[in-house]
């Protein structure tokens, strides 16, 4: 401060508001191929690793579900609407995986995992140690002789929600 000048100090405050929202994000492989193994007319199987990040509030929770949003095409092959596509869930990096064999549906979402309140991905401590979290789904498709030969594809949509 220059000599002879009067000093002056001003104080002001500023408030920063941060809204920490529940949030979820999914990363899926672009495709998963189901293949036949073993003897004839045994099911087609395939594993799909699903990566996710999620944060839930202290009073909320979350979930991941899936639904077959476009059944196998072209016609003449398997149809998920007939209940022939099932899956089991491997261990979840965060949350609780589905515990029994689930039948994928073209009309309703079926469970993959549930996330408890106050859950968060990554960073350790109160959150999970991994980022992203992963869960592996093992799909099984019945191999029926009635299927016409060919290659069939279906679209599966996963939904992650958090509160």
């Amino acid at each position: 401060m220059p000599a002879g000048s009067f000093g002056s100090t001003g104080t002001t405050t500023q408030t920063l508001n941060a809204t920490i929202s529940p949030v979820g994000r999914l990363v899926l492989p672009s495709s998963t191929t189901l293949t036949a193994v073993g003897t004839t007319f045994q099911p087609f199987t395939g594993a799909m690793a699903v990566s996710y990040e999620v944060r839930t509030t202290s009073v909320g929770g979350g979930s991941i579900t899936l639904e077959v949003t476009s059944d196998f095409t072209p016609a003449g092959g398997p149809s998920a609407s007939g209940g022939v596509l099932t899956y089991t869930c491997g261990a979840a990096g965060l949350g609780t995986a589905c515990s029994s064999t689930q039948t994928a549906s073209t009309t309703v979402q079926t469970p993959v995992l549930t996330v408890p309140a106050s859950a968060c991905t990554g960073g350790g401590g109160a959150c999970s140690g991994q980022d992203p979290n992963t869960i592996t789904l093992n799909f099984t498709l019945t191999d029926q002789p009635a299927y016409a030969t060919g290659t069939y594809t279906a679209q599966v949509t996963f939904v992650i929600s958090a509160t």
Binding site: A18, P22, P29, T32, L141, A148, A154, V156, S161
Partner: protein, 175 residues
């Protein structure tokens, strides 16, 4: 010139979002369905017997089978065949390979349910090569097909008395 030293007192306010946030992502499941076939012989052991006591009738018996099949939509085919993979054991009895009398034979006739077609006529079983039971065309699909093989074995006086066993292997294929 007046200079102000500004002290910022920061107050961080956290608020909890109470709504539901969701996101979705879509992936593709792909499966290639190829031609396949399987066959089960439902008659564990087929006993050949005769009601005659004067060599006038052959030993006969029937083997039943079930099958599943899927052949390629265009250009696919399928077959069921059989082969005597182990000839009648024991000395002096019947033999597919070296019968004691020329003309002795193990022959058979078939039935095969749709979409299969049974091979017609009386066929002679062989230890050297597979012989036909039935066939399938393109786009043949069945999860509950059935078939049968009606056997006939010459009753040759030259056979020594006794019990003789042979093994027959059935094969189903699909393309």
């Amino acid at each position: 010139m007046t200079r102000f030293a500004t002290n910022l007192a920061l107050a961080l306010t956290l608020s909890i979002f109470t709504g539901v946030l969701s996101a979705q992502s879509t992936t593709t499941l792909s499966v290639t369905v190829g031609p396949e076939a399987s066959l089960t012989v439902t008659t564990g052991t087929t006993t050949l017997s005769t009601t005659a006591t004067n060599f006038s009738l052959p030993y006969t018996g029937t083997t039943s089978l079930t099958y599943k099949i899927r052949t390629t939509k265009v250009g696919g085919t399928g077959t069921i065949t059989l082969k005597v993979t182990s000839d009648f054991a024991g000395t002096g009895g019947p033999s597919v390979t070296t019968p004691p009398t020329s003309g002795d034979a193990l022959t058979y006739t078939n039935t095969v349910s749709t979409p299969g077609t049974a091979t017609t006529g009386t066929l002679t079983a062989s230890t050297a090569s597979a012989t036909n039971v039935g066939s399938f065309g393109a786009a043949a699909n069945s999860s509950s097909g059935t078939g049968s093989v009606a056997w006939s074995l010459t009753d040759d006086p030259m056979y020594a008395t006794g019990t003789y066993s042979a093994t027959v292997t059935f094969t189903i294929s699909a393309t």
